[in-house]
């Protein structure tokens, strides 16, 4: 297999994977997890490995540390500093892992031992692998914590994993991985499940490791847009094959492979670009492909794509792809342009929340968690309200409050003119919800048909009528009737979420709440579901609430946006106003952290701490994290005030542009 790396690069290459194929044999089936994968990582370089789940990303990571699953059959070469990982014996592998290549796992809390302090875990590792004495290891551990941005490292060393937030745990994980001074740092989906503000911060840590210590970094992610900023080069995987490799800037702005283009177009953009969905899903390979695996989903596929597998050819030095029909037009054009929002008739008020507070009481002792602190909202039919904020800001509580799953400790919630507390069973179905976990929101032992018809059952609809309405909802989701008898575990994530939407639609409700409906889905599937939701939300018959931590998806089809922070509304207004002319520092920070394809960021507000470190006692909720905080902010509770078309809870809004300019 010819290598596209030049001789100059070869000399400094640390990781050099050549023609790696992995086939996993299991009783009754076999999976070609990787087919002829070749790429390299040099010291000081950050390489992004992207693609959807099932593409083989994690298998590459496992091959690099010699941890392939049982029953795998690997061919090719995983070169690391001149040695081949696939041929190492147990002793060499032990030395290679940790010191040669170290992994940061996707779920940092799961990868940390729960009964030992994180400091202990880090120090033990330093003592064993670096042969340090206890005292020195402790000092080094503190330095490592500091270097990944953990404030007050001495105290954090004594923390147990459950005491850390997701972002903090991921930082600990990075310090564990860098602790043994590895040549190569592998991060497997390091930011999945983290907020935009944290994602940016964590990714910066990896860039830092490459720049200051000269480590090679392999960043594995399904989200090309968010990691692109810190990567030098990206490798795009599809169905176990490398489809495109090239400099990050080029691949992002003018990707040549149709799959890379599909991947990028599937990602909603905060700028308001429209998502272009690509139909279908990734095939599961049983053997190395003999055609282009993307051909069935590709708009440019010809007969050649279906009969022969395209060779990897260089487009430019350092930029190569496996495609017979490389595309050239810059991607930006295809995604720009204002989204066309259908002019819907705005009707009656369907949702009215007045000064709602929700307190989760702790079961033992006093106190509790004040999840919502005085939220007021109003929504009319035909309208779509977007709700954004970091995790822990009360988004999900708001959804539960609207659905009557939690009761307000103060204030009131009315759906379709009736207080949620006093609803009958049939009235309860007037508001429907689409859940975050598509498969988990379907009863595992109930058929799909049963699940969809559940709201109708409560509304006492006859069996014949139920079947008819279920069919209609299914047809709207472009699903076949044969799916009705299946059980949830037989569905793909995309199918399951369509079923979830069908269930929400079937009773023609007045209000639909979408609670992070696409965050558990793969990128191209996410685009398909967003298309469906945009269509559903545009209906004039009901109002929609769309909750997401992903600002870009909200911009796609919300009319108005509410920004939540620690249970309070900090900004509210028409979607374009809030996104293009944000008022509140928090909104500015959120928008500044959201990834934008191929754009350099404008001066944004940088929050000074993570959410979990900021506890609001009195005054403005953001005071602890706001870079523009004054004594007035700390002492005075901020309420929503009108600034132009939107409202924000910050008294310094008029001064902010000047303040940002200065910083």
């Amino acid at each position: 297999m010819p290598s596209e790396t030049s001789t100059r690069e070869q000399a400094v290459t640390m990781l050099d994977i050549q023609d790696l194929s992995v086939v996993i044999h299991r009783p009754g089936r076999q999976v070609a997890a990787l087919s002829n994968v070749s790429f390299s990582v040099a010291p000081g370089e950050v390489v992004g490995l992207v693609g959807e789940s099932g593409g083989g990303k994690s298998m590459v990571a496992r091959a690099i540390v010699g941890m392939l699953p049982s029953g795998s059959h690997a061919t090719g070469r995983v070169g690391f500093d001149g040695a081949d990982v696939l041929r190492m014996d147990a002793a060499d592998l032990a030395a290679h892992r940790g010191r040669g290549a170290a992994i940061c796992f996707q779920n940092p809390r799961g990868a940390l031992s729960p009964t030992r302090t994180v400091g202990r875990q880090l120090i033990d590792r330093l003592v064993t692998h670096q042969e340090m004495t206890g005292e020195r290891a402790r000092e080094t551990a503190k330095e490592l914590f500091e270097s990944v941005g953990i404030r007050n490292p001495a105290r954090r060393l004594e923390a147990y994993p459950h005491e850390l937030s997701g972002g903090m745990a991921q930082r600990v994980m990075i310090s564990l991985a860098t602790g043994c001074a590895p040549g190569l740092l592998i991060a497997d989906e390091p930011t999945t499940g983290l907020d935009v503000t944290l994602t940016r911060e964590i990714l910066r840590q990896f860039r830092h490791a490459a720049d200051t210590d000269g480590r090679g970094v392999l960043l594995i992610s399904h989200d090309l847009a968010s990691i692109a900023e810190v990567c030098d080069r990206v490798v795009v995987l599809y169905a176990g094959t490398v489809v495109e490799t090239g400099p990050a800037a080029k691949v992002l702005r003018e990707p040549a492979h149709p799959y890379t283009r599909a991947l990028l177009r599937s990602v909603p953009d905060v700028g308001g670009g429209r998502v272009v969905a690509t139909a279908g899903g990734m095939p599961l390979m049983t053997a190395a492909p003999h055609d282009c695996p993307f051909a069935p989903r590709c708009a440019h596929a010809g007969d050649d794509c279906r009969s022969t597998r395209p060779e990897t050819t260089a487009l430019e030095p350092g930029w190569s792809l496996a495609c017979f029909h490389p595309q050239q037009a810059p991607l930006a054009e295809a995604t720009s342009g204002e989204p066309t929002k259908a002019d819907t008739r705005i009707g009656d008020v369907v949702l009215k929340i007045e000064d709602a507070h929700v307190v989760y009481r702790s079961r033992f002792g006093s106190g509790g968690h004040h999840a919502l602190r005085g939220v007021s909202l109003e929504l009319k039919t035909g309208e779509t309200l977007g709700v954004v904020g970091e995790s822990g800001c009360g988004k999900s509580t708001l959804a539960k409050l609207i659905m009557g799953l939690v009761e307000p400790s103060e204030g009131s919630v009315e759906v379709a003119g009736k207080s949620v507390k006093k609803q009958s069973r049939a009235e309860r179905t007037r508001a429907q919800m689409v859940f975050q976990d598509p498969i988990g929101s379907l009863s595992p032992r109930r058929t799909v048909g049963d699940s969809i018809a559940e709201p109708l059952r409560a509304a006492k609809v006859s069996t014949a009528e139920r079947a008819k309405k279920t069919e209609a909802a299914l047809a709207r989701m472009e699903l076949d009737g044969s799916i009705l008898t299946r059980l949830p575990h037989e569905l793909s994530g995309g199918q399951a979420q369509r079923i979830g939407i069908a269930r929400a639609l079937v009773g023609q409700p007045d209000l639909i709440v979408f609670d992070e409906p696409t965050s558990a889905l793969d990128v191209t599937v996410q685009a398909q579901i967003l298309d469906v939701i945009a269509d559903v939300a545009a209906d004039a018959g009901h109002g929609s609430v769309f909750i997401s931590h992903d600002l870009a998806t909200v911009r796609g089809f919300a009319d108005r946006v509410v920004v939540l922070y620690l249970g309070r509304v900090v900004e509210e207004g028409p979607v374009d106003e809030v996104f293009d002319r944000p008022k509140h520092p928090y909104t500015r920070a959120l928008l500044g952290s959201a990834p934008r394809l191929g754009e350099t960021r404008t001066a944004a507000v940088q929050l000074v701490k993570d959410l979990d470190e900021a506890d609001a006692a009195t005054g403005c909720a953001l005071a602890a994290r706001c870079p523009f905080v004054t004594d007035t902010c700390r002492s005075q509770e901020q309420t929503l005030q009108s600034y132009g078309e939107s409202r924000a809870a910050c008294w310094r809004v008029p001064e902010l542009p000047a303040l940002i300019e200065k910083s």
Partner: protein
């Protein structure tokens, strides 16, 4: 290019063949035992309580396949007929325990609050005693007889099911599909019956067969001590009890055959339960 193989390190159990073998062997034993119990009148010449006037304590062979006991009753016939009682009581008692326990567990787990507190304290009381001692006390209270024995054995087993199902329900009720059912307007009973019940029964399915074997031993134990079934009704425990004195005299046939029958049936239930457990584990992986 040389190929590198990662050989499986775990045993062959993973693919479920082992589980299948256990289920077939255990199930097979139980099917044979059940058939023997049902067809007992056809397989024997003598009735279970019929006394052969020509001889007591006759050695196996000839007129009596397994000989006769001290009362002159045919041991082979008694062993087969006893299977009806032993298997019947064990299975019915466990079935009753599962039904009662599951209902209590569902109520306690889903409703929580004072319902949970009250039900679980009652369960605590039952579980505070060693089970066999509890069985002795209940059966002393209720007396012998088929129905009373079923109730006795069910009563000592139900609390365990209540606990099992309650624990399961407490995790299930936090699932999104329960929220989904609530927002779809499902009633509390509907949620329990349509969503929680089918999803919480997996561990019960595994434990119940194992429990049947244990129930048989309890029954035999009670009868052995004279609290369960009384002579002349054919029951393995009481047969063993009667035959113990004969063993000393070298007449093994009055107590060994019912003992073996008991052993084989309990083994059947154990293998079946193990197999189901193994299969559930294999699925979880």
């Amino acid at each position: 290019m040389a190929a590198i193989e990662m050989t499986p390190v775990v045993s062959v159990n993973r693919d479920g063949r082992f589980a299948k073998a256990l289920i077939y062997i255990g199930g097979g034993i139980l099917v044979v035992a059940a058939l023997a119990a049902l067809l007992a009148p056809l397989l024997t010449k003598w009735g279970p309580t019929e006394i052969d006037p020509s001889g007591t304590l006759a050695a196996p062979g000839g007129e009596h396949l397994l000989g006769t006991d001290g009362n002159g009753m045919d041991v082979w016939s008694r062993v087969l007929h006893a299977a009806r009682l032993d298997l019947g009581i064990a299975v019915l008692a466990v079935a009753l325990a599962v039904v009662v326990g599951t209902i209590l567990g569902l109520l306690a787990g889903y409703l929580g609050g004072w319902v949970d507190d009250v039900l679980m304290r009652i369960v605590d009381i039952f579980q505070a005693f060693p089970t066999f001692i509890l069985a002795l006390a209940v059966s002393a209270l209720l007396g012998g007889g088929f129905v009373n024995l079923v109730i006795t054995i069910a009563a000592v087993n139900a609390p365990a099911y209540a606990r099992l199902v309650r624990a399961e329900v407490r995790t299930l009720r936090e699932m999104q599909y329960i929220d989904a059912a609530k927002t779809s307007g499902a009633s509390t009973i509907g949620i329990m019956w349509r969503h929680l019940l089918p999803n919480s029964l997996t561990p019960v399915r595994v434990i119940a067969p194992l429990n049947c074997g244990w129930a048989m031993l309890t029954l035999a134990g009670l009868s052995f001590l004279g609290l369960g079934v009384t002579v002349p009704t054919a029951e393995w425990g009481s047969m063993i009890s009667l035959g113990t004195s004969d063993v000393v005299a070298g007449r093994w046939w009055t107590s060994v055959p019912p003992g073996l029958a008991l052993l084989v049936c309990v083994l059947g239930f154990s293998l079946l339960g193990e197999g189901l457990q193994e299969r559930a584990d294999a699925r979880r992986r």
